[in-house]
């Protein structure tokens, strides 16, 4: 019974970590898309000074969301990697390259986001950098999707190789 409870709590933690990771990714990607592509169109009828003022206020609120999300993404990402690390040894060539790509792209996206949102005023090239960041984030999602598929496939193939008679039944 104690073993079952421990297993259930472990499963719940796995689900919770994954859920937080996905929700934070949603907030960052959706927010970047909104602030880069929808906000400028929404502010078109407002005069330039007022539009800039609103953009700065939006940036201030968005900064809080991004900083919190990045912290949670890193924590849950480390936890998820720790859980799945044994599986990553099953097909090193594919899984490590996909995992590495995902981490590199995420680190690049975090760096750009932190740079663009640092300080009271955005840098000159903030529009280009935000658009670039959106593209990098989409690539990071693509790497994560492929990694998940490749990991499940590696686990399945390994299970088929080492299947016990009871499993086959």
């Amino acid at each position: 019974m104690r073993l079952y409870k421990g297993f259930a709590s472990m499963i719940f933690t796995v689900i919770l970590a994954r859920w937080i990771h996905v929700v934070c990714a949603c907030l960052v990607i959706g927010g970047v898309f909104f602030i880069r592509f929808l906000v400028p169109r929404g502010l078109a009828p407002v005069d330039d000074n007022a539009a800039r003022e609103i953009l700065l206020r939006l940036r201030k609120y968005f900064k809080r969301v991004v900083h919190t999300s990045i912290a949670l993404l890193i924590i849950t990402g480390i936890y998820n990697t720790w859980l799945a690390w044994d599986k990553y040894q099953l097909d090193r060539a594919v899984l490590h390259s996909l995992w590495g790509t995902h981490i590199l792209l995420a680190a690049l996206a975090f760096s750009i986001a932190l740079y663009v949102l640092a300080g009271p005023q955005p840098p000159r090239s903030h529009r280009k950098l935000m658009a670039l960041n959106f593209a990098i984030l989409l690539l990071a999602v693509a790497a994560a999707s492929s990694l998940k598929w490749a990991r499940e496939r590696a686990v399945s193939l390994n299970a088929q190789k080492t299947a016990l008679p009871s499993d086959i039944r």
């Binding site: 939006l58 999707s145 088929q160």
Partner: protein, 172 residues
């Protein structure tokens, strides 16, 4: 290029589009509902309404496009995992098919609310409250998706055909 390759590409693409559209929908809803209102609260009422109306117009196309892609990619992913959803696990709570049904029905409800909020020239009464409710439902939908995945992975054996096996016996 054999059939399995295209099946695999369709599955990966569907999964990717499902996640990307969800991120845009959830992140956009949060931004529209929680970040925009405090940022424009110092403007005059007319200007606030104008900004909301223009943002809503652009957000409308995004919501509709996302809803269509999420439904289509969800059908493809469901087709890919259907055998797992129908399998009997060790306990009833761990049955992925039930969690999938909860995810699909709550997701459909969230999409209906999103689309209904953007239909027509004027937003419905209390749009922010509706968006807040929808955001909670969307977060629940994502939680149910995580549980569905985990219960699917926890099944006693999780057979996926290898590329070579499937290439030798391509799906008909």
């Amino acid at each position: 290029m054999n059939t399995y390759f295209w099946h695999l590409m369709a599955y990966l693409l569907a999964r990717y589009l499902h996640i990307v559209c969800s991120t845009v929908l959830v992140g956009g809803t949060l931004f529209y509902e929680m970040i925009v209102p405090p940022a424009i609260d110092e403007l005059k009422q007319e200007q606030q309404l104008l900004i909301f109306a223009r943002a809503r117009w652009f957000f409308k196309w995004l919501v509709w496009l996302s809803a269509v892609i999420i439904l289509a990619s969800g059908v493809v992913s469901t087709y890919g995992h259907w055998d797992d959803y129908m399998r009997e696990p060790l306990s009833a709570v761990a049955r992925p098919g039930w969690w999938w049904a909860a995810h699909a029905s709550c997701g459909l409800l969230a999409l209906l609310i999103s689309v209904s909020l953007t239909i027509g020239k004027a937003p419905p009464n209390q749009p922010i409250r509706w968006m807040r409710l929808n955001l909670i439902i969307l977060l629940l939908v994502m939680f149910l998706a995580s549980v569905t995945r985990q219960t699917r992975l926890e099944l006693p054996t999780h057979p996926v055909p290898s590329y070579r096996e499937a290439a030798e016996n391509p799906p008909r």
